[in-house]
Symmetry: C2
C-alpha cells in the first residue's frame, strides 16, 4: 500500500491531538507546515433546512492567505494526487513541485475560485484527470443548465473524468462517454454536513489508491465508497464520526448502497 | 395478460383519434364517459428553468367537476388498480364500486388534495397499498423534512409501500423496512415534463400487472420501468413520444438504467 501523504498548513492554534490522530491513522504529516504565532484557516456558517445550501457567517484565511505548499522528498513517489479545495494557484504549485506526474490527479474546487480565479482555474483544468465539483458549480463554470451538457463542456476544458456532486441527491460520474449515478444514502437526520464533500473526495481517492486502479469501472466503486464515507461524516459534528470508524462499519455501509440500488435486471 | 381498463371522463371536444389510439394500444375504453356538450378538463402552466417546478396559468375543471366514475361489469375482475390523480372522494368511489378488492391499489395524489381535501385523503390512505407522491408533497403531508421520516409517517397512515418521486433526482421506494433508490436518466434536454409523473405511475403499475407480482423486489424493477417510461415522456410534447414507442426502445432504455446504476460490488 502507498503511503498517505498530507500537504497542508495550520497555525500553532491547531490541536496537536488532531495531528496525532492523523499519524495514528497512518497519515504521513511531514508535509504539514505549522506556523508559529499564526492562526489556522477558520470558517463558520449557517445551514438551511435542506442541508444542501448554506450561508457563510465568517471566513478567516489566516495561514491559508499565503500558503506555499511543501513537498518533502519522501512524497516524490506519489501515484495518486488529490488536490483539496484551495486556490488554483496553490493547487498548481503542488503539481509543479512533484518531479514526476502522478498516475491520476483529482481536483476539487468551489464557486469562489470559479468567480475570483477563473483564468487560473481554466489553466489548471488542462493539467488534471478528474474534476470534482457540485451541480451549482458545474453550471456556474459552464453556463449550461443540463449536467450532461455541463460535464461534456468540462471534459473539453481538460479533465477526461468529471464528478458532479448533488448533495442529498447523490453524485454523477462522467467518463469514456458513459454516465454512472451513485445515490446518497437517505438519512433520518443530518447532524452536520460540513466536510461531507471533502470526505466524499477523500473516500474516492483513497479507494482508487488502495486498489491501484483508475479505470472507469473502478471509479464507480470508488464513488460508492466516497458516498459511504460522506454518509458517516454528516452523522456527528466535525470529524468525530470519521475518526472513529472501523473497516467493518465501512463495509456494512457499502452493503447498504448495494441494497439501495440493485434491482435484479443487471 | 389482464385487460387494461380505463375509467375516465372527457367532453365531446376530446379528439376521437386519441381514443382510437388508446384502443389500438389494447386499452378497454368502456369505462370512458364522453359528455355531450361539455368540455374536457384543461390545464396550462409555465415551467421554470429547472423543469421540476411550475406555475399553473389556467385550470378548467369542466367535466372533472362532477366526475362520477363508471365501472363496467367487464372491469370487475380488476387485480391491479391505479388511482390516477383526482379528488380523493372520486378515487374512493372507484374502490367502492369494485365488488372485490384488487390485489394491489396504487394511489397518486397532489398538493391540491393535501390542502383542500385532507380529511378525505387521510380516509382514503387507509384503503390503499401504495402511495405515489413527490418530495414536496410528502413533506407537506407529514410535516417532516427528512424523506425517511416522511415515508415512515405515511406508512403509519395506511399504505405499506410509499414511492417518493424527486423529478430529475430519481425516486425512492420504501417498504418492508427497506429503501430502494431509482435514478432518473440524466438528459441533455427536457422538452416537456408534463405528464412525466403520470407516465412513471403508469409504467410502474403496468409492469406489476404484466408480471403479476407485487413483491418488494418486483416493485424495484417496476420503478425502473416507470422511470424509463417517464424519460421518454419528456422528450417530446404531450403524449407524442409515448404513443409511438416500441418494446425494443423500452428494453434499450431499461438497459441504460442498468449501466447507470450497476457498480460491480453487488
Amino acid at each position: 500500500m502507498n503511503a498517505n501523504n498530507l500537504v497542508a498548513v495550520v497555525g500553532d492554534d491547531f490541536p496537536q491531538a488532531m495531528i496525532d490522530d492523523l499519524r495514528q491513522h497512518g497519515i504521513n504529516t511531514e508535509g504539514l507546515e505549522i506556523r508559529k504565532g499564526e492562526k489556522t484557516f477558520f470558517w463558520s456558517g449557517k445551514y438551511h433546512n435542506d442541508m444542501n445550501s448554506r450561508d457563510t457567517v465568517e471566513v478567516q484565511l489566516n495561514v491559508m492567505g499565503d500558503f506555499d505548499p511543501i513537498i518533502p522528498e519522501s512524497y516524490q513517489d506519489c501515484q495518486y494526487l488529490m488536490l483539496g479545495n484551495t486556490s488554483p494557484a496553490v493547487q498548481g504549485l503542488v503539481i509543479d513541485r512533484l518531479h514526476n506526474r502522478p498516475k491520476l490527479i483529482v481536483l476539487d474546487t468551489m464557486n469562489l475560485w470559479i468567480e475570483i480565479a477563473n483564468a487560473d482555474l481554466l489553466n489548471l483544468l488542462k493539467r488534471v484527470d478528474v474534476l470534482v465539483l457540485n451541480d451549482e458549480e458545474a453550471r456556474m463554470l459552464t453556463h449550461e443548465y443540463s449536467l450532461v451538457k455541463a460535464a461534456a463542456k468540462i471534459q473539453g476544458m481538460g479533465p477526461k473524468t468529471v464528478i458532479i456532486k448533488k448533495g442529498e441527491h447523490g453524485a454523477l460520474l462522467f467518463g469514456e462517454g458513459k454516465i454512472f449515478f451513485a445515490p446518497a444514502l437517505p438519512l433520518e437526520e443530518v447532524f452536520d454536513p460540513t466536510g461531507a464533500g471533502d470526505t466524499f473526495a477523500g473516500g474516492f481517492i483513497g479507494y482508487i489508491a488502495k486498489t491501484d486502479d483508475a479505470s472507469f469501472d473502478n471509479m464507480k466503486r470508488a464513488i460508492i465508497y466516497g458516498s459511504a464515507m460522506a454518509s458517516f461524516c454528516v452523522e456527528k459534528f466535525g470529524t468525530e464520526r470519521i475518526m472513529n470508524l472501523t473497516q467493518e462499519e465501512i463495509q456494512a455501509r457499502v452493503s447498504q448502497f448495494v441494497s439501495l440500488s440493485a434491482f435484479g435486471l443487471e
